[in-house]
Symmetry: D2
């Protein structure tokens, strides 16, 4: 299996941001469970604004999209500013929107049988939920399947009395990551059936 | 299999609202595919405000919750007012929140292996997306799994040039309903594994 | 001047919830500045679900609405559950929606020249922003004017290194409350002009 | 008086998008009422991602920010994709966030006494409300004042039976624009008082 991990931090990739640390926790689990991992720090790439699905631009989008197309799992990680996901994640969701009506070889949506998830680093902001719900919703409507607790929200408020903050966050990231893997494994052998999905039945 | 369909309309149940019509389209498909259906018009029941998980109140919540607990699929249908879901759906999500930390007999979240979906009747408002994303997100975080396109959004804007509005809406409801059924069927034989989920692994 | 303070807590009024404490901070400032204050704990009243503007129901809504109609300032206070305002606040916004098309004696929207604000108690949840933005937006579209920082968000994340949590929250509540008063004072002598607002100009 | 109108369309400026047409309706009113207008098509400028308030980057942000600083009114116009504002508007809000803690010469927030508004072109999407509420909220929390109906939402659903769609939209844009002007005029002679706002009072 294969997972693509996109870091939507606004800072260039040479800094150890909290978002990167959280994504790293997830990546370690993926690797331990023998899932191939592609990590992409979006800010280090040139990706044009737009919703089109044309692939003939001269930016780095085709490189990234090819990886998403081959992956079983897509994980978006974002910092939060005033209750919103980063504008880079917003840009990526717009680009993916361009494929909304495209189908796979079975006539299903292009992202069917792929599993989606998100890490939302809301520390220092408190608006993680607003950001998370917009990402989770859009992945779902793009055709991804969302396993239970597909969004690892990281707020100070999630710290339990009996655990350090970091332990607690690791807990949420771990639950999310394993649920992504479990669903991807189930779909590997039991994909969503095609028949009724193609809207051709009476 | 068994599906619970909750109608969150603000009007009492003796009127043929659009929300009811859309839910009926979905119910017809469930029945055709031999899924047992429980339809509940929430406005006709007395459900107290609150987040607690205590079941000893004297309202109708225990009756409704028992049905949700036994179901494989939970479908929430709501009208939209100024971009928001109805306050009755909001009330139901608060009640479900009370079970957030409870576990099933395997040690997983209480709603694991259940499939969630929503019908959002945004006609006459235009705010269906805002309402939909808050419901989809909360079902996911409560432990439900969301199949592709788990939210059937009904806006005039979804009408295609070549189809009547009603045909178009039926299309979205059908896609959503079949995806709910497909995921529930997959989980019937291939439930989410327990091991890593219980947070007991090292 | 006159302010109506609505507490949207899910608990009945005999408990000293955080939401109540925060609202109390605001009430103290209103009184100090000689603004008449009406405090209403919504959970203690019987308010039916619905969007209609008919006032002939047999619930307590007419009592509450008369107070809002006479007030210069409307302040809604809410706890947060999973990133959402309380269902009681949702219910109140639906009821207010019923007056959306009604006009005052000058032909302006019914809530023109009234100032709106909100206290969002997100402690223990982290979803205050999502709740706040939906309330602020709806007050604005209902015709209320929103002064700067009209929403006092209370998250642990707002605590500064140099202040206790409670000091910090008092700061936000105070800023919000004074801005409500300032705008209401300005409007007392300089209301929004009528002419172009009535949509009758060419 | 002076208004800055930012077009957040994803397409470069040589196309007559709906968003541009709506913004043009607003600009005509501003000019008729002798408000100086600066129109900026954001996609034609190079603006880096980031939240910092440092002005020493080599992008076009300082040019745009100087105009916002001098203006009495800021109007953001955005298309909608799947219920969300454009990523360019998201980027602008992040840039403005960098000034969140900065003060004007009176010790108030930098954007105090400025009026904010938004045009949300939701045609073809239906998610205008979700986009609008996130913009309205963030302008408010940045220190802008929001007049009644500060957001002109353009959905097919807003078309009244007795009017063409375009007439109806013009109505909303006109209401919004005049309310922006009215508030800016009021603030010109009656700005928000400083005293209690600086958080220095006991």
């Amino acid at each position: 299996m294969r997972a693509v991990l996109l870091n939507g931090s606004l800072e260039k990739g040479n800094k150890a941001t909290d978002t990167e640390k959280l994504l790293h926790e997830s990546a370690k689990i993926f690797k331990k469970e023998n899932v191939d991992v592609d990590r992409i720090h979006l800010r280090d790439f040139q990706i044009d604004f737009g919703i089109t699905n044309t692939l003939d631009g001269d930016d780095d989008w085709p490189f990234i999209f090819e990886k998403i197309k081959k992956a079983d799992i897509l994980l978006l990680a974002t910092p939060v500013s005033m209750g919103d996901k980063s504008s880079i994640i917003s840009l990526i969701l717009e680009r993916l929107q361009g494929y909304h009506r495209m189908e796979n070889e079975k006539g299903q949506g292009l992202f069917y049988n792929k599993i989606g998830g998100t890490i939302v680093d809301g520390r220092g902001d408190g608006g993680a939920y607003a950001a998370a719900q917009s990402i989770v919703y859009r992945l779902c409507m793009l055709g991804f399947t969302l396993p239970p607790r597909a969004s690892a929200i990281c707020n100070e408020t999630h710290v339990k009395a009996t655990a350090s903050e970091w332990e607690c966050i690791e807990d949420d990231v771990r639950t999310m990551t394993y649920n992504l893997i479990h669903l991807a494994e189930i779909f590997l052998f039991h994909p969503i059936p095609v028949l009724n999905d193609t809207k051709k039945e009476s």
